[in-house]
């Protein structure tokens, strides 16, 4: 008896190159429409102005977020949390209804991969031409095409990086600096960083981002159930596969078009797989083949597991989609959106923090009056100047020993020291609760009140 044969199994594998074939069709048009919409918004919004400043600007240095007419301060962080919750529930609901449509149509990773693939196709040619080019040995043609492809990718990536940074530092100033080549070191770093991220993710990593890095990709499957619309191959219609003129075969002629167009390199006929980003390229591919061989469309289609198994009609499937899960997601989503909009609408664009002076507890001044010192941190979050009157309440004979009107410029913060006095007998010894109120002279509704403590020494 001979020694058993040994084999070595690799736990890490090199990536297999994927050359997605170009495809056109109704879903493909929809995907390009989404691409244009998202990219027009991304590349153009940064250039709009509002109130004489950039309409959408996240000024991290000054800690002010300008969103059209709204100016958000770090104190408004709750709105970011609300926005993220809305995004999360939006994702849950959309995924429960129609699977990974976000991944297939709107995710920047998909969108930029699509753009980079388009460039690749324009320079290196179709799927078969690209495969041929990669197989052949070194030649001038190969290097010329590869170099120009990477240059074109680099340009798109740099423009993307530049636009992204333009949301955090005014883009028109940034553009002026580009023209004069006077970028600061950090501007260089971030523009190049985001450009490199775009180039690397959309040019090189592509589907590996979705397969190995993206957390959403992994937890989205937990939103799936038997009534979720997914891209499905209909095995009842398609199997057994075989040539078109052979007897006893199904509708699938095994042309492998659905595999060739897949950007993640899977075979949808093996059923739902975690790699599937729901881009619908295989639906368009299969429909065009079915048209050619004159069989009904929809061998690969958007349908639910239940719909497929129970041969439901389209309206039955639609009725099942509005299941409790979707209704609950929708209700929560609506609730949070209403709460956020309501709170944004009712928000007072004036903030006040009262800080008792740490250096002095309560001092005795002339005539036996007790004096306390406070620092008012007043934040005018509007884009107009306002004067505010300070009023105090909560103790008899509580008066201000300092000026009671402060004026703030647009989006200005002011640290204003005030001294309050009360007669010795006005409050109990120790801490006394008082209120400090600020009200705009020109707009009485612009008013905030903050509690504070008046200390009477023992």
């Amino acid at each position: 008896m001979s020694a058993p044969q040994e084999q070595v199994i690799k736990m890490y594998a090199a990536r297999e190159d994927i050359y997605p074939r170009e495809i056109s069709g109704r879903f493909s048009r929809l995907r390009w429409l989404c691409l244009w919409l998202t990219q027009l918004v991304f590349f153009c919004t940064a250039w709009f102005n509002w109130n004489g400043r950039q309409a959408l600007l996240f000024d991290l240095v000054a800690r002010k977020f300008y969103i059209f007419g709204l100016v958000l301060w770090p104190q408004d962080f709750i709105y970011l949390a609300a926005l993220l919750i809305i995004c999360a529930y939006g994702l849950f609901m959309v995924t429960a209804i129609a699977g990974r449509v976000w991944c297939g149509f709107a995710c920047p990773q998909t969108v930029y991969t699509e753009v980079f693939l388009w460039i690749e196709r324009k320079i290196e040619g179709t799927r078969s031409a690209r495969m041929r080019l990669d197989r052949q040995g070194p030649s001038f043609n190969k290097y010329a095409r590869k170099t120009s492809k990477h240059l074109a990718w680099g340009l798109v990536a740099l423009w993307t990086g530049f636009t992204f940074v333009g949301y955090f530092t005014p883009i028109r100033t940034l553009w002026g600096e580009v023209a004069h080549l006077s970028f600061g070191p950090w501007e260089w770093f971030w523009v190049v960083f985001y450009a490199f991220a775009t180039y690397g993710n959309a040019g090189w990593l592509r589907e590996q981002v979705c397969k190995y890095m993206c957390p959403y990709a992994r937890f989205q499957s937990s939103m799936f159930d038997r009534d979720t619309l997914i891209i499905s191959y209909d095995p009842g219609r398609g199997e057994p596969r075989g040539p078109i003129n052979k007897e006893g075969t199904g509708d699938c002629i095994d042309c492998s078009m659905c595999v060739q167009v897949c950007p993640t390199g899977i075979d949808i006929r093996n059923g739902l797989q975690y790699e599937c980003i729901g881009c619908t390229a295989c639906i368009d591919a299969c429909d065009s083949v079915m048209d050619k061989i004159e069989r009904p469309r929809g061998l690969i289609r958007y349908t639910t597991d239940r719909g497929m198994d129970e041969h439901m009609t389209a309206s039955d499937i639609r009725r099942h989609i509005l299941r409790p899960r979707v209704r609950i997601y929708g209700a929560i989503l609506l609730l949070i959106i209403i709460a956020m909009c309501g709170s944004l609408y009712l928000r007072t664009p004036l903030k006040l923090d009262v800080i008792r002076d740490r250096g002095a507890m309560g001092r005795e001044v002339e005539d036996g009056m007790i004096e306390n010192v406070y620092r008012l941190q007043v934040m005018n979050t509007t884009e107009q100047s306002h004067s505010y009157r300070i009023t105090v309440s909560g103790l008899d004979s509580l008066t201000q020993a300092t000026t009671d009107v402060v004026t703030l410029g647009p989006t200005e913060t002011l640290a204003h020291a005030i001294r309050l006095r009360a007669a010795h007998g006005a409050g109990k010894q120790g801490s006394n609760k008082i209120h400090i109120t600020l009200q705009a002279l020109d707009d009485p509704s612009l008013q905030v009140s903050e509690p504070a403590v008046f200390f009477v020494p023992r």
């Binding site: 058993p4 740490r358 002095a360």
Partner: protein, 323 residues
Amino acid sequence: MSDFTDSFWNLYIAVLTLLGVIGCGVLLYSQSSVRQAAPAPGQQGPGTTGHVWDEDLTELNTPMPRWWMWLFYITIVFGLVYLMLYPGLGDFAGKLGWKSSGQYQAELAKAEADYGPLFNRYAKMDIKAVAADPQAHAIGERLFLTYCAQCHGSDARGNKGFPNLTDKDWLYGGTPEVIKETIMHGRHGVMPSMAAAVGDDKDVENVAHYVLSLSGSGASDPIKAAMGKSKFSACMACHGPDAHGNQMIGAPNLTDKIWLYGGSAETIMETIRKGRDNTMPAWADFLGDAKVQVLAAYVWSLSNPQPATAVTAQLAPEAVAKP
């Protein structure tokens, strides 16, 4: 200097760290591929790692991308290079000789190089001229808030035992030069217990009421004040025959309504009975002449508002709205 008296612990840490890093590398290498008996034809399908549990439970091999493995190797190389350049292996200081204290010194030196010339310019100017400089005023305000506000309050109006710096009443004198001297070298003000010198408890009370009457306080009892007048002679050595105080020794003026410890008859009696001992620390060694110059100018400007420094108008007594 080593933190440990025995070099064993340095060695212990260095060996553990290196073994850990190298161990990660060995583990990564040894697990990146597995050797196993080739399956007999038709027995075990492809795509499993070859591990079998409970007779028939096999593990599918879903290989990670290879670049991911290289990222792991890169982190190991990074770790080793870091340990060579920076301190991390016991008491080995690293090739770059980096120290947190060295970084602090470098930052101090940079700050000195950046701001030194500015402070030196102020140091050569007259204090009143410094007070009129808005930039110096802003610097002075920040220095005051950092070093002085703990006792004197952030509006410089003082606290019990800590004098108000915004009025014209000065214990040691309010000229710019004296203020600077006070900050540079500090002050130590002592009032001894005067109970024995004044007399018995009754006398202490009478003197207290006499002292109160000097500032025209309504709280003083005229009869007690009259009886205390003769006993006040014990106080004259320091506070002067007319009770206007003596700035040479920091003895306060008793004829105004400004009281460092409180102006009630009880507080004054306590002061006479027990005396007072108070210290203002010296800042010469810590802040240096130039910063104290800027600080003195700021403090002086609080009671002598400068037209150029209207910022503090709200803190200055002139702008106070009467309650």
